[in-house]
Each structure stands twice: as structure tokens, then as C-alpha cells.
């Protein structure tokens, strides 16, 4: 099954099978809210990623409060490299001036918005020689660097991630400030929720505008340039998710993959359900109860 999946999805990295969930258990990431008998679900991990250095030591890990939230592969590569590798074809817009060049780009995948798939709005400052910009907090009268990302309802915008600062002592004011110089990437993670880009309804538009307001003040050792507010806008395509061609999932406006999971599901059923008939009966009863509760709440029938 995995070999067919890898071939059809053109996956170049190894796909491993943890059939009995031994590694998943050893790592302590088994989904412990799923019970034996819960159809073919029992044994799955909480999905997530560990990124390691050359010694195999974890340098970053990505586990979320929803299995829908997943990192774009580019964000994993950034974590491994310790720098942001912007693709040339990422949707982007340029701003700034001769002293401070600013680029905003949608980083990750093809730069599209999909339900739960985390991309980043990367705002790159390229500061002229000797110039620096400030992280908050700053004394009155100075302007810290801020990035504010806004979009339509259902675009989820997380907190800005900034690189480490260097301290700068201002003897005249007796304060120590935190500054960035050279090339500075401020990253704002974003993803779509169901209101904007559902995975169970066809898209109602092709793309959205994302507005990025950048505020900063650049200074050198002697003088400061005027504070600036830059308003940038990027048009970003929406995209559906890919799903396997099995009746369980199809028919909701997603992109149906060219691989058929039915054979695998039958095998999973035989392995995980048949040995636990009582657990499965409990699962069926639970499913019926949940379905009824959902209908009482007035949810859609799929």
C-alpha cells in the first residue's frame, strides 16, 4: 500500500510502517484517547514532527492541539537549517526604500492557504550597513518593529516569531535596547480554518488578500531615520486538501487522490476490528450517539 502511495504521490523519502505502533508507544505519542475497538483508529499517533541535527538530537518539534494543524515541509527544512529559505516562486511583494529593503512572502508549499496547513508570512528586512531596528520594549519616542497580518474571517494568524536580538547599550539614555541588523526575518504563522477554506465544502473563491502592516524605525550609531509604516498586500490562492479515493471521505469538494485506499482499509479492519468484536460494538454505539447529538445541534449531513 505504502509503495503505491509513494509512487503515485511521488514521495522521495522513506515511508516506514509501524504496524504494531511499537515505535509510536516507545516515543510516547500514541493517541491515548482512542480505545481498542475504535474501528481502524486504534494505534495511531498524535501526528507531529521531530527535526534533529546531525547527532540525532531534537532541535525542533511540532505537535499541535489538533491533528488538522500540520507544518508545511519548508518550515521543517528551515528548522533543520536554522535559516529561512524563501522560494523564488513564493507569492511576494516588495517594499521599503534604499536604506531598508522589505520583502513579504507567503512561505511554505506553493504559497496557498489550505485548512490547517501552516505556512508563514515572512517579512524580510535587509538593512543597510550600520543600520539596526528595534525589538520591543523601547523607551518613549522610539518605535519597535512590529508586523501585523490580517485577512478574511477564517484566516488564523499566530504570534510573530523573531530571531534572537543583540543588545545595544545607549549610554546617553542609560538603557539597553534589543536590536536586529543585517537581514532580519520576522515570521508570522498562518493557516486557514473551515470558515475560509473548509475541507468538506467546495471553495467559494479562488484567492484572498492578506494585508501586512509593517512598522519600524531604523537607526545607526548616531542618528535615526523617520519611523515608517508600510502596508503591503499579497494575493494568495486557496487550495483544497488531497484525500484518498475511498467512499468514507469523497464527495466534499476535496481533491481526490489517484490512490485507492479501500484494499488497505479492508486489511486494517481485519487486523484491528475483528479481534475486538465487543470493542467495535461499543464503537458503533458511540458513533450512533455522537451522530444523534450532532443532528440535534443541527449539523449538516454529509
Amino acid at each position: 500500500m505504502l509503495s503505491e502511495f509513494a509512487e503515485k504521490q511521488k514521495i522521495p523519502y522513506p515511508l516506514l510502517s509501524d504496524v504494531d505502533s511499537d515505535v509510536i508507544r516507545h516515543y510516547g505519542i500514541l493517541n491515548d484517547q482512542i480505545e481498542v475497538g475504535d474501528a481502524f483508529l486504534y494505534g495511531i499517533p498524535y501526528p507531529g514532527v521531530f527535526v534533529t541535527d546531525e547527532r540525532g538530537v531534537v532541535v525542533a518539534k511540532f505537535f499541535h492541539d489538533s491533528y488538522k494543524k500540520r507544518e508545511s515541509p519548508e518550515l521543517l527544512i528551515d528548522a533543520a537549517l536554522g535559516r529561512i529559505e524563501l522560494s523564488d516562486d513564493a507569492p511576494r511583494v516588495d517594499g521599503g526604500d534604499a536604506e531598508v529593503k522589505i520583502t513579504a512572502a507567503i512561505h511554505g508549499g506553493p504559497g496557498s492557504i489550505r485548512q490547517g496547513i501552516r505556512r508563514e508570512v515572512v517579512v524580510r528586512f535587509e538593512l543597510g550597513d550600520g543600520l539596526h531596528i528595534y525589538d520591543a520594549p523601547v523607551p518613549d519616542g522610539m518605535v519597535p518593529t512590529t508586523v501585523r497580518v490580517t485577512g478574511p474571517a477564517g484566516l488564523v494568524v499566530e504570534d510573530t516569531i523573531a530571531p534572537p536580538t543583540t543588545p545595544l547599550r545607549l549610554a546617553s539614555m542609560d538603557v539597553e535596547l534589543r536590536v536586529w541588523s543585517g537581514t532580519v526575518d520576522l515570521r508570522v504563522p498562518i493557516y486557514g480554518a473551515g470558515e475560509l477554506v473548509s475541507e468538506v465544502r467546495p471553495l467559494d473563491r479562488d484567492s484572498i488578500s492578506i494585508d501586512i502592516e509593517v512598522r519600524y524605525q531604523a537607526c545607526d550609531a548616531d542618528t535615526c531615520l523617520l519611523p515608517k509604516t508600510e502596508r503591503l498586500r499579497i494575493q494568495v490562492p486557496l487550495d483544497v486538501i488531497d484525500i484518498p479515493d475511498i467512499s468514507l471521505h469523497t464527495g466534499h469538494g476535496q481533491r481526490v487522490g489517484n490512490y485507492d485506499g479501500t484494499r488497505h482499509l479492508v486489511r486494517l479492519f481485519a487486523r484491528k476490528v475483528l479481534p475486538h468484536p465487543l470493542g467495535f460494538l461499543k464503537f458503533l454505539a458511540k458513533s450512533i450517539r455522537l451522530e444523534r447529538a450532532a443532528r440535534r445541534r443541527g449539523a449538516d449531513r454529509a
Binding site: 500500500m1 522513506p14 516515543y27 534533529t52 538530537v57 533543520a80 490512490y259
Partner: protein
């Protein structure tokens, strides 16, 4: 199955509370922490070859992705 939107705003073709939709409680930490060496493991790849993680990785950095299924 019934389509419902959860408290995080995600849509899925299953009712709320369905085992397949249960995620980590916010703030709960699981798995090896940043700074720890990943435990070694040996698993078959898609062609049946046994992959020994640290040995096969050699001196390369790695991303170990745990996913729920390729097919559902």
C-alpha cells in the same frame, strides 16, 4: 457521517467527539523533548527493507514525521 466544525474552527466529515477527531489537549507535551537524542528504531520501509534510523541517517540531519495514515 455528519460534518461539524470544532472549537478550533476546523471542519471534518465526522461529528464532534468522534475518536478520529480527538487531538492533544492544549499545552500537553508528548514525546522526546528538544535537546534529547531521538530513541533509535528499526522499521520496514515501503519495499520491506529494514531501516535503522540512526545508522541509516549517517551524519545527516533528519525530520521524523509521524502521521496517522496514508490512506484515510
Amino acid at each position: 457521517m455528519t460534518i461539524e466544525r470544532d472549537e478550533l474552527g476546523f471542519d471534518a466529515p465526522a461529528p464532534l467527539g468522534h475518536p478520529g477527531r480527538l487531538g492533544l489537549r492544549p499545552g500537553r507535551e508528548i514525546g522526546p523533548a528538544v535537546g534529547e537524542r531521538l530513541p533509535d528504531f528499526e522499521l520496514p520501509d515501503a519495499s520491506g527493507r529494514r531501516v535503522r534510523f540512526h545508522e541509516d541517517r549517517g551524519d545527516a540531519k533528519s525530520a521524523v514525521v509521524f502521521y496517522r495514515s496514508a490512506v484515510w
